[in-house]
């Protein structure tokens, strides 16, 4: 990238290789490479977080509070890109969605229709049998909550957490299968996981990632 300040070749890093001013981000870069980690589900989160913080320290707008407006604009855009990348990578669901998106799966659906993501993934493959089962489980949960049957609610939550964890493990394996051979399976697993997560969201104090 040609540096906006010294007009020499600035390299691919956040700071110009020639004069060290902050450069605007390359929008074509994927979120894994933004954080300098290989594109895969089983990503090294610790390395990604370390890089996120190191890069943030270099390009955060707070470093440029009194700088040239162009530097401030570049710093803002860089940090938006960094924050977006880290938000996607640190959450397993978002990370999985993003990997499928990169592989060309239209999980986000047609963006002209808001909330189409739900429709699209449901259309991918939630089998009617699966939907029935989830529906029944949710009714059972609501019943237990109405009856203030705490042990029952806890037991159901525990069972669902296990299912969630198992599905997440399979999803990770499917996503990282060499050559993308199991991506369609990953998409189906992701759909299931969304239902599990919504089930857990019904229980106060439970979170899929807690």
């Amino acid at each position: 990238m040609i540096c906006w300040s010294c007009e020499r070749e600035g390299g691919a890093g956040p700071l110009c290789a020639a004069c060290a001013v902050v450069l605007p981000p390359d929008d074509a870069q994927d979120r894994f490479s933004v954080l300098g980690v290989p594109r895969m589900f089983a990503v090294d989160l610790e390395a990604a977080e370390t890089n996120f913080k190191k890069l943030s320290r270099q390009v955060h707008p707070d470093r440029f509070a009194t700088a040239d407006p162009r530097a401030r604009k570049a710093a803002l855009a860089r940090t938006v890109q960094l924050n977006d990348a880290w938000r996607t990578l640190k959450d397993p669901m978002r990370r999985a969605e993003y990997l499928l998106e990169l592989a060309g799966f239209e999980l986000k659906g047609d963006d002209r229709k808001p909330a189409a993501a739900e429709v699209a993934t449901r259309q991918v493959s939630a089998p009617p049998m699966f939907l029935m089962e989830i529906l029944e489980l949710r009714e059972e949960l609501a019943e237990a909550q109405r009856a203030r049957n705490a042990p029952k609610v806890q037991a159901m939550a525990e069972a669902m957490r296990r299912r969630y964890a198992d599905a997440m493990k399979s999803l990770g394996a499917a996503l990282d299968e060499p050559g993308g051979a199991k991506l369609p399976e990953a998409a189906r697993l992701l759909v299931g996981l969304r239902y599990y997560q919504r089930f857990l969201d019904e229980i106060p104090g439970e979170g899929a990632h807690g």
Binding site: S56, R57, D62, T66, V80, N83, R87, R112, P114, P204
Partner: protein
């Protein structure tokens, strides 16, 4: 000289100018109180007035002659006499519209000027209508002047703190107030984050902390992770209309019930007692005064009951046998019963914030208390119960936010020992756009780290549609009319196409201040159609510009008015000091002294009411002259009593300076 009389017994009053590397300041613009701090020698300190007081009450008085007075005098001496012209708790009105229920439907002593609904305007003395932004700017100007006097230089910039839960409109309004006060606003910083910075840097705290911030008018809860100079906000929540003010109101309600029993014939009390806490501005001036009295008495009782089990106050009332004060008493238990329901409103946001952060209360490393209301024993007990641990209060909860802001300002201005500090704050409330059917499409979810961005593509609904109307919203609810309206956009000039063909890309960017910028572009034609932003609340950029220009145009006038105000304050202080000195050592007065000083005092009292600030200054000098011999005798007495730790030269130099009328400089001791 009179001032020297008052101060002679207090060693250590002369202060050198601070030797700060940067002249960047941190400002806590609070609902009840405001403070300003700088980093001096690596440590943050709050700047104080000549009496050593760091707090400036956030109370602004508008006088009929056009002068403006800010602070303790406005609160203590003018708020009761001029309840409509003395604005307290202006922060509650920031970024609010005049039809905004949250701000204006409560019982207030203010009068609102009719407006276009975008901003609240207070109708104050002199036929003026002022916006909350202008009122806040007056507070900021006083703080700025304090810093410039103390530092002896022009300020490089300021970090102003805002409640984490402030929405976009409230943030914009705060930024505009800073601009209007002539400050370079380097950053808006969330108050809980500022507090965490103060603890993290000063106390070397590490781990996951909850910051429980209960101020005068706002409640914030933030969960932060502190590690290696990184302050990462995990989640935030709160209520931007809940605070110590509401405790005062609850206590006031109780006081009014008691007053009504003691003075059943008092119609005003009966009316207020029936109305307290309910909607509507107070109808007439007399009632507004009484309401202000009751509110002030409630605040004083609440503060007294922090240290005592019971307290009482005298309030005027109409009794069967004429006007008379009625004594009403309150026990701590009674007060606590009254405020408990208000306090209970803090619990749900705390639970939500913990859940959002994915942290259990028992896994926290500590709970940091911020805000004056956390001084109340009841609040501390409440926090302890809620988190199952004793909260931290090592740093003064009134000062901690300003101190943290000063550290951040220092870092931003680049003078920093905190060069490695990194603040990762979040969006407090989701941001979205209204789509068909009044449903909100969220583009940025709450608790997303700022700065952040999002884009969404929309399309035309009808054939040959040539424009888009977009509605920007903030909030968690599903429907547009349940969320806060931030702005409306029109995008025009799209060539007529069949429905669904035009593609409009809307981009949201939230900067590090938490302020949203929206851009829109029609993709198929590549043409960037004109975007018109009309904020739903607050002022447009043009309005702020105009106010700035107006303030330049009136700068000359303002200087006159300020000098008059300053001389009046000076006159009052010096007269009080002289009276106190005479009462303190009457035996040092010769038979000639007393009539001479009394005459000078009377003359000063007379000129003080006039509009000539130079006449007031001359009257002050005359009082100095009349009390000179008396002052010298007091000084001698002080020396005889063995004033230690003080060199004679300094005291004399000070006395000389004051005699020459340079009262203010004496305290900054620039010459010593």
């Amino acid at each position: 000289m009179a001032e020297a009389l008052l101060q002679i017994g207090e060693p250590g009053q002369t202060r050198p100018k601070r030797a700060c590397r940067t002249s960047a300041v941190g400002i806590d613009l609070g609902t009840t109180n405001s403070l300003i701090a700088v980093v001096d020698g690596g440590k943050p300190v709050c700047l104080t007035d000549e009496q050593g007081e760091a707090i400036v009450p956030s109370v602004v008085h508008y006088a009929a002659d056009g002068s403006v007075l800010v602070g303790a005098q406005a609160r203590d001496e003018l708020a009761q006499a001029f309840p409509r012209d003395t604005i307290a708790s202006v922060k509650r009105f920031m970024g609010r519209g005049s039809r905004d229920a949250e701000a204006t439907r409560r019982l207030t002593p203010y009068q609102f000027a009719p407006g276009d609904g975008h901003v609240v305007r207070f109708a104050v003395a002199g036929g003026r209508a002022v916006t909350p932004i202008e009122v806040s700017a007056e507070i900021l100007k006083v703080l700025k002047a304090r810093a410039e006097t103390e530092l002896g230089v022009k300020l490089a910039g300021a970090v102003i703190t805002v409640p984490a839960y402030f929405d976009d409109g409230q943030r914009q309004a705060t930024r505009d107030a800073g601009r209007l006060a002539g400050l370079e606003v380097l950053r808006l910083l969330n108050e809980p984050t500022a507090a965490a910075v103060a603890y993290g840097l000063d106390k070397q705290a590490e781990g996951t902390f909850a910051v429980f911030d209960l101020g005068g008018g706002t409640f914030d809860i933030s969960i932060l992770k502190l590690e290696d100079g990184v302050f990462e906000v995990k989640s935030t929540g709160g209520d931007s209309a809940l605070g110590g003010d509401d405790f005062d109101r609850a206590v006031a309600h109780l006081l009014l019930q008691k007053l009504r029993q003691a003075a059943p014939a008092d119609q005003v009390i009966a009316a207020l007692a029936g109305q307290a806490g309910e909607e509507g501005a107070v109808a007439d001036l007399a009632t507004a005064r009484r309401w202000r009295q009751v509110l002030d008495a409630s605040r004083a009782l609440k503060e007294a009951l922090t240290f005592r089990e019971d307290a009482s106050t005298d309030l005027p009332a109409h009794l069967p046998d004429g006007e008379g004060p009625v004594t009403v008493g309150l026990t701590r238990t009674e007060m606590e019963l009254a405020v408990e329901p208000v306090l209970a409103r803090c619990a749900p946001p705390v639970r939500q914030a913990l859940a959002d952060a994915g942290v259990r209360a028992d896994k926290l490393s500590g709970v940091i208390l911020v805000g004056g209301a956390t001084r109340m024993p009841l609040v501390r007990q409440f926090v302890e119960k809620l988190f199952g641990r004793e909260p931290l209060g090592d740093i003064d909860p009134d000062q901690v936010v300003a101190l943290g802001a000063a550290l951040q300002a220092d870092a931003l201005a680049g003078g920093s020992t905190q060069g490695d500090m990194l603040l990762l704050d979040v969006v407090p409330l989701s941001l979205g756009l209204e789509t068909m059917g009044g449903v909100v499409e969220k583009l940025i979810h709450r608790n997303t780290t700022v700065p952040c961005g999002a884009a969404q593509t929309f399309t035309t609904f009808a054939d040959k549609q040539t424009g888009f109307d977009l509605h920007v919203l903030q909030g968690e609810r599903e429907l547009a009319d349940q969320c806060r309206s931030l702005a409306r956009f029109s995008l025009k000039g799209i060539p007529p196409m069949p429905a669904g063909m035009a593609r409009l890309e809307v981009t949201f960017t939230v900067d590090a201040d938490g302020i949203l910028r929206v851009a829109a572009q029609e993709e198929t034609t590549g043409q960037q159609a004109s975007v018109q932003v009309k904020p739903s609340y607050g002022l447009t950029d043009e309005e702020v510009e105009r106010m700035l220009l107006d303030s330049f145009a009136h700068a000359e006038e303002d200087v006159q008015v300020r000098q008059l105000t300053e001389q009046r304050i000076e006159a009052d202080r010096i007269a009080a000091a002289a009276r106190a000195a005479m009462a303190d050592t009457p035996d040092l007065l010769t038979p000639e002294d007393r009539p001479a000083i009394d005459a000078a005092l009377a003359h000063l009292a007379g000129t003080r009411e006039g509009l000539d600030h130079q006449a007031i200054r001359r009257a002050i000098e005359a009082l100095d002259e009349a009390s000179k011999a008396f002052a010298a005798r007091r000084m001698n007495l002080a020396f005889e009593r063995g004033l230690r730790g003080r060199d004679v030269g300094a005291v004399e130099a000070r006395a000389d300076e004051t005699a020459a009328g340079k009262h203010r400089h004496a305290h900054h001791g620039g010459k010593h």
